[in-house]
């Protein structure tokens, strides 16, 4: 094994490890919903290659309003799915789409793009 091979092997394995850590094990951005005076828990989410924030904490039994602003035209993010709440919505580019829910049960509910590549979750407490 020559020097180049050692370099490539070590570098490759390190890179593979980095990829795994970055996508699966690093901490995510979590935001708790702010309740408006009327009792609606509102959260603004920007959609651009992903959802930011992508973990949203809400309280159960209170209405939730998620405002998705899609800041890109890329077709990957054009659909929003929240299977647990029966939501399938097209998000128009550069517009805010409101999604209203009433979470009744605690738990972690994923929302994804149409193909399940972009992910976020709603944590109901």
């Amino acid at each position: 094994m020559d020097a180049a091979e050692i370099l490539v092997t070590v570098g490759g394995l390190a890179l593979a490890g980095l990829v795994l850590w970055y996508f699966f094990f690093s901490t995510r951005q979590t935001v708790a919903a702010a309740a408006s005076p009327s009792g609606v828990q509102e959260v603004a989410i920007t959609v651009k290659g992903g959802y930011s924030p992508d973990v949203i904490e809400v309280e159960r039994g209170k209405p939730v309003q998620l405002n998705f602003y899609r800041a890109e035209e890329n077709s990957c993010s054009e659909e929003l799915l929240m299977p647990d709440f029966g939501v399938r919505r097209d998000l128009p580019a550069f517009q805010t789409t409101q999604i209203e829910l009433l979470p009744q049960q605690p738990g972690r509910f994923d929302f994804t793009c149409g193909m399940g590549m972009l992910r976020g979750s709603l944590v109901v407490k």
């Binding site: 290659g49 029966g86 193909m115």
Partner: protein
């Protein structure tokens, strides 16, 4: 010559009371050129019909301002149909852009490919300057990368910042690596030569991959718009305006959004019904196929319910608006279909889990492929081989096929179902319907009409038609459901006609009496006759016993103090029931009936429609228990009921099918709602579920097998055995075709038709 009148709507500001509204209305009506003005205080809107050659919209606004009120510019309308139109425009624009980007990539790739091939002819290569050739290829490739492929890199970068990876990530990394390597080989070939490596370039690979992936995307987008076609046609059903009758009797076309509860709307022959309501005058038959899938027009008389988006045929009628906007049946159907399309089938769970980790995993596999090829291949070729296989792995992997497998099939099938009057609540209900092996029918309202009808009429030694006419004349004044059955029967026998009826009285729990054409007529149960001192002949008594033995209700008719006739009334079996049950049995499903009737009646109905197993004398409270009993036998049970009094049983069943007669959408407890009131809907639902789940299974199988085989082959796993390596360009072609294949397979469901 005057032009055709136009209609405009203004949002009026500052109106506080009814007199303000009438003031604005007067001011508008007096404006020359205005034909008609309607001001609505509640919605703060004025609808004005005017002649465009005599008055302008600006002058109309001025008339409002002169009256002392303001006009606000109309806010953009955001009805579901408008939103859909907005989205469609956006998608159409995106599609055009995508096609342009593909055209550029394909055109340049067609030039780049043959130029790169020059390297294959050493004789030719000696005459050209390789360095210049590489620079020329670089220049040709740049637009492909920066214009056509830009979105991949932007999307990959945006995703990366969110720790999300998608298909674009794979393409960006793959083509980026090939391009950067080529760039280095072009700019500093000497560095490669010194290490004994040929400075090969992969511009053709980069450009071709981008062109092929874009081709795949173009095809995918085109197919995808077709998956929601049924949904769009549902939204497109809605009428745009309604012809409202004002209290003064004038008629005026009003935009749908301004229609109010209680308004009276005129529907002329051939027009669409604007919204849901109750017929107040006139009669016609209305084609409700778009909502219920029932192809025969439905007769509408005063008191009948009509629904928005249905089509009036030849008659004309007026109706009172009872529901508008989101409360209408059409809006509820649209909402239900939308929700169903957003649901995930349990069958998709594995695919979901896989796609969540798919892209990063593929990136890791690609890195390991690079390392292994670099370590194991001969030194002179190890770098190009490692690179080519690295790129091939990234490009061939197709997360889209996995992601598209279920949703596209669901989109097509829920839309198709709605077209046939079968509303599917979610993917889970569809998947359960696929597994069903037993269908439990609640007799009343499903197998039978659910309302009494006259089955027998005997009038020994009498003018039967005349007696029937007399009986019907009395019953016309009664509100009892049995009376309605008698009237319907008489009308069907064309024994209607008007007779003078005086002294009508209903006798609580017994029947009714009246004087018809001077004769005293009684109609009711046996007690009514005995109470009134009417004796029953032995012949009639025997006939009555026969009818009672058949579990029918018997009505006795007496004319001028003498018993004259008997009517047998029973809930009748629908014409379609036997055929539908036969079809279900042909699908390999056991059909079981339950009823509150005694076992004698139950046996009779069961035999009539070809059902072998039944539960009789089931109390309403025990319906759910009956479902449980069947489930305990290890069966997957579909329960079919009218959705009103058997909600618990519908909920207990593995899948509940509610037969709504188009009037009351009892969708809550049922997984599937049938808009048409006959059992053929059950057959349609089960056949549709079978085809859909089969399609989803095929899609998932294809998507998994494609990736499971494709990735190792691209990594060069077959090289030691067969000497096979996969060109990244071939990988791009396979990848583009894979998601299109899944989509095309889902679109096959559009051909679904139950015969």
């Amino acid at each position: 010559m005057s032009a055709t009148p136009e209609t405009t709507t203004l949002d009026i500001e500052g109106m506080t009371c009814a007199s303000c509204a009438s003031f604005v209305e007067r001011s508008l009506s007096r404006t020359p050129g205005v034909q008609n003005a309607l001001v609505n205080l509640a919605t703060e809107k004025a609808t004005v019909q005017y002649l465009p050659d005599q008055v302008t919209p600006a002058a109309i606004k001025e008339a409002v301002v002169k009256a002392g009120y303001g006009v606000t510019e109309r806010a953009p309308d955001t009805s579901a149909a408008d939103r859909q139109a907005d989205l469609d425009a956006q998608k159409a624009r995106a599609y055009r852009q995508l096609k342009r980007r593909f055209a550029v990539a394909a055109g340049l790739a067609l030039v780049i490919m043959p130029l790169s091939m020059l390297m294959l002819w050493p004789a030719l290569l000696e005459r050209v300057n390789v360095s210049w050739l590489n620079y020329a290829l670089l220049l040709l490739t740049l637009p492909v990368l920066l214009y056509s492929g830009r979105e991949f890199y932007v999307s990959a970068w945006n995703g990366l910042r969110h720790r999300a990876a998608n298909m674009d990530t794979l393409i960006a990394v793959g083509t980026g690596a090939a391009f950067l390597y080529s760039l280095a080989a072009t700019v500093v070939p000497g560095y490669f030569h010194r290490r004994g490596i040929m400075p090969e370039v992969y511009y053709d690979t980069t450009a071709t991959i981008i062109a092929l992936i874009l081709l795949g995307k173009v095809l995918e987008l085109r197919a995808k718009t077709q998956t929601s076609a049924a949904m769009k046609s549902l939204l497109g059903l809605q009428a745009k305006t309604a012809r409202v009758v004002r209290p003064g009797g004038q008629e005026m076309d009003v935009p749908l959004a301004q229609l109010q509860l209680g308004d009276t709307v005129v529907v002329r022959p051939g027009e669409k019904v604007a919204t849901d309501g109750v017929v107040t005058e006139g009669h016609s038959s209305v084609n409700e196929a778009m909502l219920t899938g029932e192809s025969l027009p439905v007769e509408k008389l005063p008191g009948a319910a009509v629904f928005g988006a249905t089509l009036n045929t030849t008659g004309s009628f007026r109706f009172r608006v009872t529901k508008v906007g989101a409360d209408t049946l059409l809006a509820q159907i649209v909402k239900l279909v939308e929700e169903a399309q957003g649901s995930r089938a349990p069958i998709q769970r594995l695919a979901d889990k896989v796609s969540a980790v798919f892209v990063p995993t593929v990136v890791v596999i690609a890195i390991l492929t690079f390392v292994l090829w670099f370590d194991l291949a001969p030194e002179s070729t190890r770098l190009p081989l490692a690179l080519v296989n690295f790129v091939a792995v990234l490009i061939i992997a197709c997360p889209c096929a996995l992601g598209l497998a279920t949703p596209t099939a669901m989109m097509v099938s829920t839309g198709k179902g709605a077209e046939h009057g079968v509303l599917i609540r979610n993917a889970e209900a569809l998947e359960k319907a696929y597994q069903v092996d037993t269908v439990l029918l609640d007799k009343t309202g499903t197998i039978t009409q659910g309302e009494p009808a006259v089955t027998d009429f005997v009038a020994p030694g009498q003018n039967a038609a005349h007696v029937l006419q007399l009986a019907a004349a009395v019953e016309r004044h009664s509100e009892h459901p049995l009376a309605a059955a008698v009237v319907r029967h008489a009308e069907a026998q064309s024994a209607g006609g008007s007779m003078s009826v005086t002294g009508f009285r209903a006798v609580e729990g017994k029947g009714a009496a009246a004087t018809v054409e001077g004769q005293a007529v009684l109609i009711g149960n046996r007690r009514l006759l005995s109470d009134e001192g009417v004796l029953l002949s032995a012949e009639l008594a025997a006939l009555a016993d026969q009818l009672l033995a058949q579990a029918k209700t018997v009505l006795y008719v007496a004319v001028a103090g003498r018993a004259a006739a008997l009517l047998g009334v029973a809930d009748t079996v629908r014409d379609t029931s036997a055929a539908a049950i036969k079809k279900l049995q042909a699908l390999g499903i056991e059909v079981v009936m339950m009823t509150g009737d005694n076992s004698q009646t139950a046996a009779q109905v069961a035999a009539q429609v070809g059902i072998g197993r039944y539960f009789a004398e089931v109390l309403p409270a025990d319906k759910a228990a009956t479902v449980k009993a069947l489930q305990a036998e290890g069966r997957t049970v579909a329960m079919v009921g009218d959705g009103i009094n058997d909600a618990p049983a519908l909920a207990q069943a593995d899948v509940g099918l509610a037969i709504g007669s188009g009037t009351d959408v009892a969708m809550q407890a049922a997984g599937i709602t049938l808009m048409r009131s006959d059992l053929h809907g059950v057959v349609t639902a089960i056949e549709l579920s079978r085809q859909t789940i089969r399609t989803i299974k095929q899609n998932l199988f294809f998507a998994f097998v494609y990736n499971i085989l494709g990735i190792p082959i691209a990594a060069g796993l077959l090289y030691p055995v067969l000497g096979w390596l996969l060109s990244p360009m071939l990988a791009a072609g396979a990848m583009a075709l894979s998601s299109v294949s899944v989509l095309t397979n889902s679109l096959r469901l559009r051909a679904f038709d139950n015969h």
